[in-house]
Symmetry: D2
Subunit: 409 residues, 4 copies
């Protein structure tokens, strides 16, 4: 790979990406464009502009954008249509944000004539894969620079020394080491590393930042809410219509209050090792429960079972960084096709760490009380049909049993 001339850097404004910024300038002598996105991580973005300027970035090379609506509308919601969970439990909060960042990095590279993009993910994790597969899928000629895999700043001490040598301001609380590593966006906050590295030790209370403690802080009374869906996407809470990002923000507030969405999890990274993470996905956990609730009455078993059967593969693709791949898009076409009538309202009980569907209704309901009733059904269903249904489903089993008896004699 020839040296990059102009690089678009995913820049948070924090110490690590500031060091990367400087390192890119120093190592490659290249022009740097910074991209700082508001994905709902809950941090001010304007300080990032000041730091970038301080590090010599030209004003026209500083991109700061609020992408929350795009994030929820085009990434989070499509994923939730699939009820996607990785390895049975993880709601993919980090995985789903990376493709959007890469997409903007590549677009800004094209706008600014940059020939490379750079990110701050390490060589051990999944995020490098997600960033880079997305970038290459959108622009096969782009260069991707991953400083953590290239440089020799292998210790905290070395990083701080580099920062000092290069006049990068170091916040006081960054001098010591953080007790664990955090990633956050509108969908979730993840924590991993350091104090969490032994999966046999319980996570300390201070790890949880996004949700109130279900035992100590959550209210003693349950709260009931109604979430309304149209074509598989949430569109209103308690009857009030909201934009995608506003809905997720509101669900996050509700989930936080009731301590919902905590997950202590050991997962399999794509790069081959196991990792332990603590995830907090307050609004997403409510949303998943609600989406399942509305699907229960609006899609039929054929559609639902097909969705269930492909979900693990869909989730794995997102986890592994293949959002921009033909197979993810094919699965999305399948999933979206199923959501045409996933419209209606779900009532949920939120209480001390959990969200449970307690009722659901829809103009598009497939539930037929007339058929299922224990009462007289006025001929809606002929119980005698079941005899034939069972006989033909049993036929192959009978033939098998007869064969097995015959040959085992």
């Amino acid at each position: 790979m020839s040296a990059p001339k102009k690089v678009v850097l995913a820049y948070s404004g924090g110490l690590d990406t500031s060091i990367i910024l400087k390192w890119l300038q120093t190592e490659y002598g290249c022009e740097v464009v910074t991209f700082t996105a508001d994905l709902g991580q809950g941090e001010e973005l304007e300080p990032a502009r000041k730091k970038a300027e301080l590090l010599g970035i030209k004003p026209e090379n500083i991109y700061i954008e609020d992408v929350r609506e795009e994030f929820v509308r085009d990434f989070v919601f499509p994923m939730f249509r699939a009820n996607a969970v990785y390895e049975g439990l993880y709601l993919l909060g980090t995985s789903i944000a990376r493709p959007l960042i890469s997409k903007r990095l590549v677009e800004i590279a094209e706008e600014t004539g940059a020939d490379a993009v750079a990110h701050g993910a390490t060589g051990k994790g999944n995020d490098q894969v997600r960033f880079e597969l997305s970038a290459y899928a959108l622009n096969p000629a782009i260069k991707v620079i991953a400083p953590w895999r290239e440089w020799n700043l292998h210790s905290r001490t070395a990083l701080l020394a580099f920062a000092e040598q290069n006049q990068i301001p170091i916040a006081k609380d960054k001098r010591g080491e953080a007790p664990f590593s955090v990633d956050a966006n509108l969908l979730h906050t993840s924590s991993e590393g350091k104090v969490l590295e032994n999966p046999g030790d319980m996570a300390p209370d201070y790890v949880f930042q996004r949700t109130d403690d279900p035992v100590l802080q959550a209210p003693n009374e349950p709260e009931y809410i109604e979430v309304t869906f149209e074509k598989g996407d949430a569109v209103a809470i308690n009857g009030e219509a909201m934009s995608p990002a506003t809905i997720l923000t509101k669900l996050n507030e509700l989930g936080k209050t009731h301590g919902i969405g905590r997950l202590d999890f050991v997962e399999n990274r794509f790069v081959g090792m196991k990792s332990r993470g603590v995830y907090e996905t307050p609004g997403g956990t409510i949303l998943l429960e609600a989406h399942r609730g509305i699907e229960q009455i609006t899609i039929d078993s054929g559609a639902g079972h097909l969705k269930d059967s492909i979900m693990p593969r869909y989730a794995e693709l997102i986890y592994n960084g293949f959002w921009f791949s033909p197979e993810r898009e094919m699965l999305q076409a399948l999933i979206d096709k199923s959501q045409e009538f996933v419209t209606g309202t779900v009532k949920l009980m939120l209480y001390k760490g959990s969200a449970r569907t307690v009722a659901r209704w829809s103009d598009y309901s497939l539930y037929s009380e007339k058929h299922v009733t224990f009462e007289e059904d006025a001929g809606a269903y002929d119980q005698k049909d079941a005899a034939g249904f069972i006989q033909l489903n049993a036929l192959r089993l009978k033939l098998l049993a007869a064969r097995n008896m015959r040959v085992k004699k």
Copy 2:
């Protein structure tokens, strides 16, 4: 089908199966053998013996058996090795009990020279299918009699009249109609029908019988327990070894106390209609969470993702009544193969309706702190390997992107 001469009836001792007993004697003039099983439903069995005798069943034709250990060991535990849930949420508590009952019915038929078996499931539900497919798979020549599909006792009034005409004792509380229908065994209690028939109405509090109310009754303090597994099956709680049925019983007590395992659910029956049920699976819900927890550190991604991908099909087979089918047995072979090292201990927090894994450890752990650490890893993992890994995973995406750019010009 020619008329049966001797029938083994799945007999609970209750009013409905007593009516069936009498109806079989009357309708077919056949000898009846009763089979009453203790599956952990929490009812005395000896009254069933008295009622059977009262209805003229010969003592040698009365079978009363405690099958709880067999139920948990040979049915519940193998199913939990798969983390099986139907339609994302249902733990299959009723589905998994039916094959065992059918198996004993067929075996008793062979022992007693009976040519038929009979059950009390209606023509609208799944249980008829489960009973009958199991029976035919075990004995293709057996006759199965399903009185609810045959007789003309279509109203409560008609049933009670038949009972009175035939001197079948009617408990006072059975005169009126039950507000909903219940099925119970060691794994769960299900409630459906009547007051639950509108899925838009919340279930009344009195529907819940098996779990304490998480809001009103569950303790204000969480309880921490440890569940130990060997080869995928739970073998001890808090270090105390127990038999399969004892473990599930103990987990049920714990789950009951903390209000764990309530599910309000609309599902797709195999016979084609949607049905709303309220399920309480206290111990099973804890067990599923714990099993997932121990698998997280003891099986690798290849095994785990394969299990996840076939699970929906496995669950559907059990739900639909195909426990005794070659495909369920094939999937079981696959699942069991994965459990050789699923041995270790999980720590869970039980609190007001939920069970969450908070720690797990195992001598068979695949988790490698050496590899995953944020600290210096002494060469366990070479971050540069990730570059090649990503390049080759990206190659096809790059070729696709280049093609697409080329042809879209």
Copy 3:
């Protein structure tokens, strides 16, 4: 089911459906509308009009239609996009025709105010299921009459007697029994029953009607043809653009000449029994080979492997009669999404019973000689990347091996 008042009958003009026509008039006293479709079965349709008139059908109640283009365009081609084969070998020639017939029956019922449709399939086969599921999926209120399941004309003698009593003309060759049963359309001819009922006996030569004998009749020289595809559908042969039905007709001629597409097969019917059939699918066999050939260079492994993995389910749905189901439509959306660039040309060798791809090219090709070459590749591919790729793919296997060694000591 109340008695039908007006019935649309799938009417071939042959003896059996003529008997059904009369039986419907006699049994139900209802008005009959006939629908006779040209699906490419190779029979004149006008005689059907005469027979219908003779049996008292009003001219405005006689529908005779050439649906070959619709058949290939909307049913055969979408199915071939999936490379669908049932149980590894069967190209679904009968299965794919039934939904189209049902669709027209239901549409004609709506046009003519009929309340029922009727078909001539027996109670043992798959076709009854395919006809009826399609009809119900398109009009849930329609009545479906299946005379073979209802009447008591259980022997050839009884049928002929009924025909004679009702002045239905009996062709001389129909007096005796046919040695096997045949179904044909533009995609295939199937033969089953009678002389074919023992799967241990070779099919007699006279069973094959649609293809020349590869040994005795096919030319001694191979023939090379080129089939061109656009977005997954064949559009030209040897450079000559043709309509869908014309292409299949032409491929049938080529396949017939070279004895291509014979299959002797024992399959599992949806109704639970095994059945032996002899299928001749001359053009379809060439088309499947060609479609696979063009996909080899135009879709990538992610798309291709996903298609392969869902294909068996897709084929089973079509075989079982679920063409008009949400899950088939969801899978179709997935498949169609993959075909956007399946455009190009395949060269095939046709010779004595087989069709083999020998070359293929496309403006949309993903094949990169630059990458794959054994020659110097000018840096297109860095072989060192493979080391990292393998190391990370191996990591979990190494951790497993280390664990297994540790615990087995």
Copy 4:
């Protein structure tokens, strides 16, 4: 990776692996152990011993073994139980041989105290992955050396110069470049590269080495053979019992004569690029057809459809080099479970390039002429059962159709 001290090399005795042998000695100064396996590639092995001695390998370090029986019994046959084909067509002839070679390399390393193994696969292909994943899965501490990824002998000229400098004998026909690259074993011969690199050009006739030309050489008369299976594995041809390797050898002779098993194919390599290969799998092609034939009557639809649905994944695992992985072993457990009664005999017609099943019989047959017959079936099957079967399968489709009509008004 520290330098290896003793290396076990997969050694063919040819020029390339002789150069590798010398390079290992020169580059690492390490002791070399050679392993030469007879996998049925059709070459004498003793010359390899002489060449190894000539290159200074100690006699006790020269391993020459006939592993043909192990290859067929433990690798080929288990794979054929699954009817495995990669991307619809490829019978995995190269893929299945690599794990066995790696297994012996690792075992010999353990026997001889070697700390490394080496292979002659390039950095562009699949074989490097297969060799190395297998080695690491069997011994996580082993070093694997892949000289083609390490050295700087990037042209034919450089290789020959190295050979001459090191006194490695060069056969006359190796001076020029081979027109394509070949791999062979008892299951197949593959050819790729050079003259085959343009997939739009037909393969020249001289590429085919393993099969007679179907047009010019194959007999004008078909040949009929019978293959007998026990538990899924072939055990006899025309009634004569044979060992696994003998059976495959005999089928290869038959296939060669009739020009069976030629495949011109563009496939997706695991490393991300497309590649065009010409495969000749004469015996394997017959075996696959025969295995499908015997399964048709001995396994039921539940087992068969499950096998079909997991086959693509199983084949992909083998292709990608994951033979020694938990998921391949889990799938094997599932597959093997299905083969208990796959016992019986298939009759095939071999003729000018194709093998077709024409009859099959088994004491374990599930085919029931009594049920399927077009004749009177004496009550084996009640056609009226089909009505109920269809009604309940249709119920959800009716409910869907009614909903859709309702909401679209």
